[in-house]
Amino acid sequence: MTSQPFVAMNQIEKSFNGVPVLKKVTLEVEKGEIHALLGENGAGKSTLMNILGGVHQPDSGQIFIEGKQVTMANPHISQTHGISFIHQELNMVGDLKVYENMFLGSEIRNKAGFLNVEEMCRQTREILAELGVFLNPKEYVRNLATSYKQLIEISKALLHKSQLIIMDEPTTSLAEHEVGRLFELMRNLKKSGVSIIYISHKLKEIQAVCDRYTVLRDGQLVKTDDMQSGNLEEITKLMVGKAISQERFVHEHEFGEMALEVERLSSPGLFKDIDFTVRKGQIVGFTGLAGDGRTELFESLFGYRKKYTGTIKVKGKAMKITHPRTALQAGMGYVPKDRKENAIIKDLSVVHNMSLSSMGNFERWGFIQDKRELEKFSNYEKTLNIKVANPRITIDKLSGGNQQKVIIAKWLEADTDILIFDNPTQGIDVGAKQEIYQEILELAKLGKAIIILSSEAPEVLRICHVINVMYHGEITARFMGDETNEEEIMHYATGAKREGEHIG
């Protein structure tokens, strides 16, 4: 009787344009369990969940909810079956306020049929508080940092009092402590009988909170098992076919001359008195919590924001950078975060996205040489292990992780001496992450100056020579990469501790 799972997806098949993406996948989720759905980029996790959420229709296979077969024709039907969905890509309505987003589609109305704003605001405050977020519910979402948007997206799913919550990479832009609170909440939900399907590429998270896991590989079910019986290494092996080390990279190469010197860079309300230097071959990390101003700092450095003071010296020469184009000409490249908004051009093909910032490399007599573009791309396809059936399809057809790799390829192709990576491994699977780190290290060895911004302390710890910690727009600490740990970084990132430089 009770052994019946809450949701059973049976023999699901799905293909896009003739390319099979899911091959007879079966997934069962019990009542009150947190079930991890794992797999490489492009394994089909999001697609499977989109089928459960009514976004896509399966080609064949059935879905059962508490034993009854259902058809998820659209998101509305899925919701009425008690399923909430936190999508991989943020789906906030920027022009609506926080509470309006929270209650979008399920507004509270008073007896006269008008919207009950006060009640909605009250509930919004309440539910956000549970995640440790204190926001004015009447703030426009477009004005919020990404992490807040993600938290609101999570809260919105919680609001529905659903029986199953699908979380497709909910923590990609959250800081450690925010993730901690989310987990607490998930455990509470579990106690009250709510099931959760949890997708993440951060394996530590999986271990911390999940009861069971299912691994997909190339659209096929590989294994479903209890969490205890598998360790991370084993799971990684199941996913990518080999073991991945989590060790810190060892750097042995020498640094070259000074590549970038920044002095007293300030922008009112965003960052203040920023000083740092990067040498050729050096990898410098910046970490901190959401709202620490690191993205704004580097957007300014890259010429996207113009209202700042201070001096920037590139290779010893003072520069006034007023446009990303000038930054590129000065030898800077920038892989932005939030690829959907900032990086991918979804109507351009994969190849054209790759070549966009370095058209000069593909021109002859002012005309673009298609063949050269394709050739170059197939190089990156191999070195970065990009999974794409046909590089001429538009980039939005790729899985999130593969999109990210194309963007990285774009900036590698621009071949700049200084490369800034903002959250470079957002949504990237463990295997690919390793490849990207490897690539970054190779670049450093070739004498490029690398800057990595990340909200994940472990990431900067693994790969950076120098780590800067930011808090409220200021650099509060600076460590050598091998002389610190996560805990220490957290202290400075949360503002609990404040000191001058740690290295001479």
Partner: protein, 324 residues
């Protein structure tokens, strides 16, 4: 006393100064309006005459009603080019119904019905046919004008029922009835857009259609509703226009109303791509246009140059208010 005062300064009700700056960014069209209003008063003393002011209100009421609907359509991310033609069609058919039935009620009802139906068809094309609103309503623009011309044989039709002209030509206190109808519609649309979930969904849809859809909103229905709403408002405008002169021309009535309505909406600060904008902005946008037309007549600007002046001031008004 002090205490009560400070209480007001909770995080959600900002200080006077930040309030002003908020007013500026949200409602800069009002400031543009005030400047134009003052300029007009200085340039021609007759401008301030109460009769002139009432005239302006009367003159903007028809386009104003249409512009309200246009605001909703544009907030949803669409556009409606067919308003002028549909106005002519609704007018022509309603006069025929009026004359045939002898009942004013039936005449009015017919206008609303024709308008709503044309809007509904637009909505169907946009929502279910997935046709770009520009092209769908461009088609409707051609088709509705064509049918109106065909029915009226290219000419105009006149009402033969006494009392019909009273609708647009009556006053309540000093206000013409059309002005009051315009204000009533404005209040109604304001409530619909800000106090009901329909309005909320229109904003959501215009801002991020996919997110709206994933929030389990029936996007198609909202779209159909939006176009039916503007169609109905065009029907109301048709009644006023027809009643005012007791006749409607199948060839010239409503010509280029779409451009004026869209201009009013954009001057009012609504974003072309939807999701952002305000009904109040549109009202001031339409008033700015009304003052412009009025001033050009008062000052006897050469008809050849009126387009230039109007184009220039519209652009200045928009530049002046953009804040982003």
């Amino acid at each position: 006393m002090d205490n009560i005062n400070t209480k007001e300064y909770s995080p959600e009700s900002p200080s006077m100064k930040s309030r002003l700056s908020w007013l500026w960014s949200e409602y800069s069209v009002i400031i543009a309006f005030i400047i134009i209003f003052i300029a007009a008063s200085v340039m021609n003393p007759r401008f301030l005459d109460i009769n002139n002011q009432l005239n302006i209100l009367m003159q903007v009421s028809i386009i104003g009603i249409i512009a309200l609907g246009m605001t909703v359509v544009m907030l949803s991310g669409g556009i409606d080019l067919s308003v002028g033609s549909v106005l002519a069609l609704a007018g022509v058919i309603s006069v025929l119904a009026l004359n045939a039935s002898g009942s004013i009620l039936i005449g009015v009802f017919t206008a609303l019905l024709v308008g709503a139906f044309a809007g509904f068809l637009n909505g169907l094309m946009v929502a279910k046919g997935r046709i770009a609103s520009f092209i769908a309503t461009l088609g409707m623009m051609a088709a509705a004008r064509s049918i109106a011309l065909y029915i009226a044989e290219g000419g105009s039709v006149s009402g033969e029922v006494s009392g019909f002209t009273a609708i647009a030509n009556n006053n309540v206190w000093i206000f013409d009835l059309p002005v009051l109808i315009f204000f009533a519609m404005a209040v109604l649309i304001y409530i619909v857009m800000h106090k009901t979930r329909f309005g909320r969904y229109v904003y959501a849809l215009g801002s991020n259609e996919k997110a709206a859809m994933l929030s389990a909103i029936r996007v198609d229905r909202i779209k159909i509703g939006v176009y039916t709403l503007i169609g109905t408002l065009v029907g109301v405008a048709a009644v006023i226009e027809t009643s005012r002169l007791n006749s409607i021309s199948s060839s010239s009535s409503g010509a280029q109303y779409e451009l004026d309505a869209i201009a009013a909406v954009i001057i009012g600060g609504t974003r072309m791509t939807g999701g952002r904008g305000k009904i109040i902005g549109t009202i001031f946008g339409i008033l700015i246009l009304g003052i412009l037309n009025n001033m050009m007549n008062l000052m006897n600007v050469s008809p050849h140059l009126q387009g230039f002046v109007k184009g220039l001031i519209i652009i200045i008004a928009v530049v002046f208010q953009k804040r982003e």
